[in-house]
Each structure stands twice: as C-alpha cells, then as structure tokens.
C-alpha cells in the first residue's frame, strides 16, 4: 500500500525529473563566472517577456524567432492573452513589454507613469457578409454600416443599400448582425470608425473595446473566429473581422468601403498602408497620450478607411540595464528590419514617418537617465 502511494509520487517525480534533467540542446546555460578571459564564452541568455493583444501574436512570434537567429542569447517570449490583460501585466510589471490593439485610455495612461506607446504594426478591419450568390465587393458607406448596426436598416434590399450598388439584386431578407462578444481591439477600430462617420452612432453607442450593441437580436461571437463562424452559419448576416481572417479564410465575402475622397476601396495591405501614410503626419510623441489618436477615415484617394495601429507598451525608465538594453534593441530591430516580415503574414508594414517617430520614442528608453540605445 505504502508502495503504491510512493509509486504515484515517484511516477510524478520521474516525469518531472526526466524533463528537467534533460537539458535542451539549444539552451545556453548560465554559469557563474570565475574571473577568466570572457570573450570566448557565450553570453548569458536574456529572456524578454511580453503579453498582450492576440492580433499581433503571429508577427511578434515571427520576430522573436528571427531575432533569436541573429542574437542567439536573446529569447523573446510573447503570449497573446488579450489587450486588456496585456495592459494589466505591464502595469503590474510582471512582463517586460505589453501590447495593445487600442491606444491607452486617458485614465490608464495617467496611471502608468512613464509608459511609452510604440506603434509596431497596423491592422485593418473588414465588413464581412454572407449573401448567397453575391461575392466580395458590395459597396457600403460608414453611414449605412452604422445604421445597419444601429438597427435602422433591417433589410438587405433597403433603398440605401440598393442605391449604392446598382446592378446587384439584393434579397428582401432581414439582416442578421454579428459582433464580438469579448473585449477586442477589432471592436475598438470598428466602433471608432462608426463614431467618426455617424453622429448617431457616436451619441448612442460610442467607441470602445466592448460596447452595448443596439440591435437586440444581434449575435455575439468570441474572437475573430467566432464572428467568422456566425457569418458562415447564418445566411444574410453581416459582421466585422480582421483583414487577415477574411484573406486567409477564402469563403468570407467583404464590402468595399467609401473613403474620405468618395471612392469605394477594397481592403488590402496596400490600401491600408495608404491610409496610414495619409494619417500619420500628426501623431503625438511616444511618451504623450495617444488616447485620441485615430487613423480611421484617413485622407487619400486610395486609402481604406477602417484601420488602426497596434502598440507595444514599455516603460521609459528601465529597472535592469542589461534587459532594458536588449529590449530597446529588439524593438528597434522590430520597427526596422522586422517590418520586412509583415506582408508575408498579412500585416501592413509601418510607413517611414511612423518608423522615425518610433525611433525617437525608443531613444527615450533609459536606465538611470542613461539612454539604452
């Protein structure tokens, strides 16, 4: 009897020991240095931990993988736990950097003394729908989309939709509205856009990572996947997802949206990049508040109007010189060389104006007043 309790414990112990005592091949072990000649020794592993938005996770994973190839002693561990959780972690200082799809609100910015917001990539949101027999390319305006989500336009053959799309035969069916049920940067961008285009939306609903959806029959889905699932399962539905989901899951149709210049624009990496280039002339400094920054409805003939930055969050004053230096160098690399990996993963590379702004921001990072880069 005693044997078997021991047995279970030993079993657990063996699994544990077996794993720990089996040092992985590519692990640089940290050894206490006896004062000998240093240069031949591999430098100690520096681990940078980050948490936040799920949207940039594939890109940041790619960065950490590539950066580790160039700098084998630096391991970057980023986990997509959500923008809100990311902000909490950086504020509790359990991580070295955070990431958020939405800029910090005025209140949060004030609470996090010395926080820097560094745009690291760009996301676009598409208005997707499921209309049997109708492909991508239905033309919509922000106004009409807002009224659909407000419940003022309830049928697909509403005269306002038909007027925008001569030649398309719309069914006389009720529109099923789909939205995100979880707090989300995607929702923030989408509602930011609707607030800008529709005074009615602004006063009744407003913008945020989660809002009170006015259409009582609307369906909520968790994550981009959840909304995409609702769209697939419900004919005559409309919703919003990240561009990358629409592009990679071929069966999602999406609308062309009217921009500031009056053109209907297909969401692509190029049209989104155009929008950012047009809107990035008037950005605040990296250590200022970004709460009012918005690049939706950007100027430019060929700019797609629903897009936003996503941000890395780091503290200006770093508590650890070695780590702080590694972090500053990594972010510097990410906004320069790292951008070349964007398009392959369906992210929009940062325009030059934003890169030079980021350079200034990264130069603010310091250890005891001594710049880290």
């Amino acid at each position: 009897m005693k044997l078997s309790i021991t047995l279970i414990l030993v079993l657990a112990g063996v699994l544990l020991a077996g794993c720990v005592s089996n040092p992985p091949p590519d692990q640089t072990t940290v050894q206490p240095t006896v004062a000998t000649v240093q240069p031949t020794k591999a430098p100690a592993t520096i681990t940078l931990t980050g948490a936040g938005a799920t949207f940039p996770n594939p890109l940041i994973s790619k960065w950490s993988f590539e950066y580790n190839k160039i700098n084998p002693n630096i391991q970057i561990n980023y986990q997509g736990v959500g923008s809100g959780a990311g902000i909490q972690q950086i504020s509790a200082k359990t991580v070295d950097f955070g990431a958020s799809d939405a800029p910090l609100s005025e209140q949060v910015y004030k609470n996090l003394t010395g926080i820097l917001q560094i745009p690291e990539t760009i996301g676009a949101v598409v208005v997707a729908y499921n209309l049997p027999g109708i492909q991508s390319g239905v033309k919509l305006t922000g106004d009409v989309v807002a009224d659909i989500f407000l419940g003022k336009i309830t049928k697909w053959n509403d005269p306002r939709i038909v007027a925008l799309n001569p030649g398309i035969q719309f069914p006389a069916k009720d529109i099923i509205v789909a939205h995100r049920s979880d707090g989300s940067g995607t929702t923030f961008v989408f509602t930011d856009y609707l607030s800008k285009l529709s005074p009615d939306w602004k006063s009744k609903v407003g913008k945020g990572t989660a809002v009170n959806w006015p259409v009582s029959t609307s369906l909520g889905g968790k994550g981009n996947d959840g909304v995409a699932g609702i769209l697939r399962q419900n004919t005559y539905s409309i919703g919003y997802v990240e561009l990358i989901y629409a592009k990679l899951q071929g069966n999602i149709s999406y609308a062309y949206i009217k921009n500031q210049a009056g053109n209907f624009i297909e969401p692509t990496l190029e049209t989104t990049a155009n929008a950012v280039a047009g809107a990035s002339q008037t950005l605040p400094a990296g250590d200022a508040s970004w709460s009012s920054v918005s690049i939706v409805n950007a100027p430019g003939d060929n700019s797609y109007p629903i897009s936003s930055f996503t941000y890395l969050l780091v503290y200006k004053n770093q508590a650890d010189q070695t780590k702080g230096k590694a972090l500053a160098q990594f972010i510097w690399w990410a906004v320069h060389d790292g951008q070349s990996y964007s398009s392959g993963l369906q992210y929009v590379p940062l325009p030059n104006a934003v890169v030079s702004l980021d350079e200034q921001t990264i130069r603010l990072m310091n250890y005891n007043g001594q710049p880290l880069i």
Binding site: A12, L16, V20, A51, P58, I76, N77, Q89, D225, Q249
Partner: protein
C-alpha cells in the same frame, strides 16, 4: 408469449437505460472521431520533439509544450495528491464533526468553481511576487486537484466496512496503523481512480495556466520560469488565422488525449495486480 405489465415495464426501462448510454456516448465518440480525423495528419516525430515555429516556417512542433505539461502537471501532483489524500483521510476518519462537514461542503463547492478562479489564485499569490513560472501553474492546477482527490478519497474510505476497522483495532493495532495499512490499502483502487480523474481533469485546463505558467516558445529553463503547456499552446494555435496553425491545434489536442489515455492505462497496468 404473454406480456404482462411487469415484463413490459422491465423491457421499456432496459431499453431506456441502454438508449441513455448511447446518448451519453455519442458526443464523446464524436469528439474523439473529430479530433482524430483532424489531428492525425499533423502528428509526426518533429511535431512531438521540436520547438514551435512561427507561421510560414515549415515544421515545428509541440516538444516544449509536452515537456512543460509533464512538469506543470507533475508539480500539481506533488502538491495536490498528498494534500488531497490526507485531507480525504481526515474527512473520512476524523471528520465526523462540524468542521469536517464544512470542509466537505467547501470541497464540493470548490470542485464546481470555474477553473479560471484557480488561475487567479496562482496569479495573486505567486505570480505577483515571483513572476510567471511552472510552479505558479502547478500550484493553480493543484487547487483544482485537491477537492477532487479529497472527496474521492473520503468516499472510498467510507466504503471500507466498519468491521474491518474493528477487527484491526481488536488485534491491538493502533488507529493510525489501522488507517495506513488496512483502510487505505483496501480503498486504494478508489483513491487511484480519483487521482487519475484529477490528473486527467487538470491536464486539459487552459484558463488557469494562461496567466500563471504563461507560455514559452523555448524549452523549459527551470521551474521558476515561464513554461509552455499544451492547452495554452493549443489555444494560441486555435485562435490564430492560419489554417496550418489550426491543424497543429488539432494535432496537439489529439496528443493531449493520447497522453492522458497512456497515463490512465499505465497506472492501471502498474497497479492491476495489487488492487
């Protein structure tokens, strides 16, 4: 043959129970079937032994997540099994009082709390002071294990007949020896089942690990460091937009099911003769 009322009811009830078994088993088989069909193609040697790679790179696997799951679940067992089993012994053998009944009740409530609450426990008491780590993850999982192990141990000990205890005591064996050698020994099969159930339950938990064990794209660097686990890695893969990450999520789910299965069969096999 003449049907009388009793026979008819007997037949109907037998049929109903059989039908309910089928109903209960359909979702289970359907899950197994779907996971196998979708996951089998992702599994190969690299998948089981390599580090994860980012989207766009060929290959890559869950090696570190498998390693991490063993470590975190191992830590959870080291904390959860002794505490759970001893608590169960107390409840059954010494717990016939207000305090014992209260603890039983609390354990039942705890067993029903959402698992994220265990994560909050690990986060508040460990992560905020020592950072993300395998220990924090293991501690969070042990919070989920303890009530299950304690209650199943208690129930199995209660099934041991009183005459057996009395026989032992009558021979002059002290109470603690009776419990250790007679009662626990008789109830061991039930205790092992409870332990296995608890291990299987926590092996698949994602929520308590997200903000305790955190995750890690590299091999485990120690139990005081963030560590990759299968449920978290599967979650990361599943919510990403890439089809080949989805395939890896299915593959990971299948591997996790198989590992839990192997653990169950393994422990049953080792202990089959004795209990």
């Amino acid at each position: 043959m003449k049907w009388n009322r009793r026979k008819l009811i007997d037949r109907i009830m037998s049929f109903l129970t059989a039908a309910c078994v089928v109903v209960a088993i359909i979702p289970l088989l359907s899950i197994l079937y779907t996971v196998t069909i979708n996951g089998i193609s992702a599994i190969n040697l690299d998948f089981l032994t390599q580090l994860p790679k980012p989207e766009g790179e060929v290959g890559g696997g869950l090696g570190n997540a498998i390693q991490g799951t063993f470590i975190v679940v191992g830590i959870a067992c080291l904390i959860g099994l002794p505490v759970g089993i001893l608590a169960g012994v107390y409840l059954s053998e010494y717990g016939e009082n207000r305090f014992g009944r209260m603890v039983s009740f609390v354990a039942d409530v705890l067993a029903g709390t959402p698992s994220i609450a265990a994560g909050i426990f690990g986060y508040t008491f460990i992560v905020l002071y020592f950072g993300f780590s395998a220990i924090a993850g293991g501690a969070a999982l042990s919070v989920l294990m303890i009530p299950i192990v304690a209650r199943t141990t208690e129930e199995s000990l209660r099934l041991v007949s009183g005459s057996l205890r009395e026989a032992s005591l009558a021979l002059g064996i002290p109470r603690w020896k009776t419990i250790l050698h007679i009662v626990l020994s008789t109830a061991m099969s039930g205790i092992i089942t409870g332990a296995l159930l608890a291990i299987a339950r926590v092996s698949g938990e994602t929520a308590p690990l997200l903000l305790t064990a955190f995750g890690n794209p590299y091999w485990a660097a120690g139990i005081n460091k963030p560590i990759s686990t299968m449920p978290v890695q599967i979650y990361t893969y599943a919510i990403a937009p890439f089809p080949d990450w989805h395939a890896k999520a299915w593959g990971g789910a299948l591997v996790l099911i198989i590992l839990v299965l192997i653990l169950n069969i393994g422990v049953r096999f080792i202990t089959r003769k004795k209990y």
